[in-house]
Symmetry: C2
Subunit: 235 residues, 2 copies
């Protein structure tokens, strides 16, 4: 399982939100499908209040629309908040997983190079030294083919740079990138052993960030991600 880092307060609506969200994201409840509160109550054995609250959340994410007399209608994907971590998670968990990984990878290629460049300008001293340290660790783990541990450090590496960018919208993508990295290894889209070039590029990014060389950090990160994508495509 991909780790679930949501706070999820164990509430009663959480399971039903999860189930309905997944079914919608998976397309099992297609656009235009109509649910009713009564149906939800009965299906999950909960009170109306709970059913309503779950539905409200779904509605605020754009997955459904609630209208009087007609019920709760599933909306087309164009209306979804596709940046909502829950929605991303649901799509990653369902049959659209491959497509979601592809769109997320494109997003990474767009954002992470700029984030790395910004981090080279904005990172704290602690962050700069940590990123260098992480790159060295990745080198060691990669050459030892310690895949799981490598992935966890890689998650930390990318999250650190996104958060050090000083742009909270970039920082908010850290969890999403973590999900992508974990999902990718889980899907077997990783090479059996990280290619040396990737290790070089991690180190190049780290060195550029540590040295405050913004443009260099950006291009190195871009090269790294393009390499990642090319490794994903053919399978």
């Amino acid at each position: 399982m991909i780790e679930r880092r949501n706070q999820s307060g164990s509430g009663l609506h959480d399971p039903i939100l999860e189930k309905l969200g997944m079914e919608i994201a998976a397309g099992e409840l297609p656009t235009g499908h109509v649910l009713t509160l009564d149906g939800i109550q009965e299906r999950f054995g909960v009170s109306r209040t709970v059913a309503r609250e779950a539905m409200r959340i779904l509605e605020s994410m754009g997955l459904v629309q609630s209208r009087r007399r007609v019920g709760i209608t599933v909306r087309p994907i164009a209306d979804w908040n596709v940046f909502d971590p829950k929605v991303i998670w649901w799509r990653l968990s369902g049959p659209a997983r491959g497509a979601q990984l592809r769109t997320l990878t494109e997003l990474r290629i767009a954002v992470e190079p700029l984030a790395a460049g910004a981090a080279a300008r904005a990172a704290t001293a602690a962050q700069r030294s940590r990123v260098v340290e992480l790159a060295a660790t990745l080198r060691r783990l990669g050459e030892a083919a310690e895949l799981t541990e490598f992935m966890e450090r890689d998650v930390e590496f990318h999250a650190l740079l996104l958060q050090a960018s000083g742009n909270e919208m970039f920082g908010a993508l850290a969890d999403v990138v973590a999900a992508v990295l974990r999902g990718r290894t889980q899907l077997g889209l990783m090479p059996h052993k990280p290619v040396p070039q990737a290790l070089d590029l991690h180190e190049a990014v780290a060195a550029a960030v540590a040295g405050g060389r913004s443009a260099e950090a950006e291009t190195a990160m871009r090269a790294l991600l393009v390499e990642v994508r090319s490794a994903m495509l053919p399978g």
Copy 2:
């Protein structure tokens, strides 16, 4: 007013969601501040159910966390779903407007060039001709200094390319970019008359997309956005 294109079902929680969301986004309710359902009920004169539903939505956006015996606590911005259109809207409406415009502009620089490149590969024939048409219209309106109409066509131009990219995550940013463009003119961050270079670049992007020249579309769009940012920064 920046146009509000939310569906906002006129419900009774919508006003209270709006008010609380704005107050949190504005920092009037600082991180750690504690609300109670009773307080919300009383303040807005609504029943417990309505207060709870509004709170649930806020919670699903990461703005607050609800805990028994403690109340409803405002969470730090790092936990917010800063890509949620409502959150973006609230931040744009409050004192953080300038900061939000800056982070959004960085996001645009990250995403729109890649989206334009993807659009050059994926756009339909209708979209290709429309983008060329829009660029010509922008030229005409820009030279005539028809600022309002120019902005509306500009919104359409950028939205079209984001949606034509074939990546629904990029497409979902269309509304956000629209808000940025409208907010920017409203803030007076636009030159009195669009600079000729910007008009040239719009046409260059359009021609490259229409001709399927992906790399060219990408670099032209990047140049356009960098120009936009430099126009915003000094004032």
